[in-house]
Symmetry: C2
Subunit: 265 residues, 2 copies
């Protein structure tokens, strides 16, 4: 279906604006993706938006035309509107010329196949959506299976997380769970839980990593709860040559993930 | 000197608010640091604010009292004000209870002592102040000497960069230069310039790193200009197992920096 929206007061505009807010995303089970590049990444990963919203253009980009055709063919909706209305939806003065609405997918642990990849990233109470998106992107790069979000994390479907993931939100599996669901799930099969730690730890270089290796990073300001650290199969320590005693969470996860990748290869 | 400010229209409030803006920071040569933790890091690194601004408190934190005493002893100014005015200055509903104004320091290449550290981080046209601050924090962790910012980078003295640096803005040297100043400076002494690259590159694990090693990362969306890559002494490649062909700039820099650290140790 194809339709045009020219009025700011159109209910679809209100609906789209609301999706910038986490509560509305939860209620609707939908999220926004902005920009042709991310939408093309999604398409290449087999994910199409239910609704494609774009500014009217005389001569659209070939990738946009392809997206448009695929959305229509899949029974989705294409909404043509004005740059001003796109700006109102995205809250930016210079909005991307296109955005899409995707249905969220299920993010339970049950959907994960732990044998599908040698590395999994696990984040506990990660609050920064940029860090979260960056971890998805790193996961893609190291060939991880996905990202498991423990306890109260930022929303992986927020505009900022999706953007920082550079499309990896569409390729990495994403699970959300409480610690007391995660631990029994982990123990029910193969899997080594590894955390960067200062206590009872071995050097991260040359540590005995085993696939599937679950790399656990903690909250940006508090780190991991002691109880979580204690439950790990392996605690590793990274050199800290300066005054600080910790790295940014996404950085720590990435340095560890590349070390595990080299070790398992 | 100690004084009290109770009115929103006080010129000092206007001055402090303006320091959130890059142009005002350049004009004044001053920047804002928010929060007791960062201010204490600064103090531990031998840097005191010219002006300390805090909410009136009956029973101040001992670290705040120590900071207060040091600022007065050094001839600085302590301003006591209301939480509302602090909120207006920081632009937040829940402002930190204290902030400081620091004089910026010189950030020329001439101030760097390349023999002072085995690793230096170099960023080209890095636009995200959070990435910039994270690179400073990583530099602190790997024992780097500092961060060299090439071409048009985000402002290392912005509130966001300072916060993401977790205090490393006070311990890492910072230099700002154009590429055509940097390259002659680099060639005038010892130093290996290394970049992550897809072209003419060797695997990053076990590459022949040499101190002082200058690790160069490029702009978040465009990467490094080909000319800059070509000028490197060593181009290394990191595994990319997924769909994407690049990492977040701060992540790439960190994974490389830890590899160089292990190699040189």
């Amino acid at each position: 279906m194809r339709r045009e929206i020219t009025g700011f007061s159109n209910p679809t505009v209100k609906y789209l604006r609301a999706l910038r807010d986490k509560k509305a995303r939860r209620r609707e089970g939908r999220f926004l993706v902005e920009g042709l590049r991310l939408l093309t990444d999604a398409r290449a990963s087999g994910r199409l938006p239910e609704m494609l919203v774009m500014a009217a253009a005389r001569d659209p980009h070939p990738l946009l035309a392809a997206l448009d055709a695929d959305v229509i063919a899949a029974g989705g909706e294409v909404v043509v509107t004005t740059p001003d209305i796109l700006g109102k939806i995205s809250g930016k003065d210079n909005p991307q010329a296109v955005l899409g609405v995707f249905a969220e997918w299920r993010t339970g642990l049950a959907a994960l196949d732990r044998d599908a990849a040698p590395i999994w990233l696990v984040a506990q109470a990660l609050r920064d959506p940029g860090n979260l998106g960056t971890m998805l992107r790193t996961g893609d790069a190291v060939g991880a299976g996905g990202l498991i979000l423990l306890d109260d994390c930022a929303d992986p479907f927020s505009v900022e997380a999706v953007r920082a993931s550079m499309g990896a939100v569409f390729t990495q599996a994403i699970a959300q769970a409480r610690w007391d669901e995660f631990l029994p799930w982990l123990l029910s099969g193969k899997g080594q839980l590894v955390a960067a730690s200062l206590r009872h730890a071995v050097p991260y270089r040359g540590a005995p990593y085993q696939a599937p290796c679950f790399i656990l990073v903690g909250n940006e300001s508090r780190g991991l709860p002691a109880e979580y650290e204690a439950a790990c199969d392996l605690r590793v320590t990274m050199p800290m040559k300066g005054r600080a005693d910790s790295l940014n969470a996404a950085i720590a996860g990435a340095v560890l993930a590349y070390e595990v990748l080299a070790s398992l290869d």
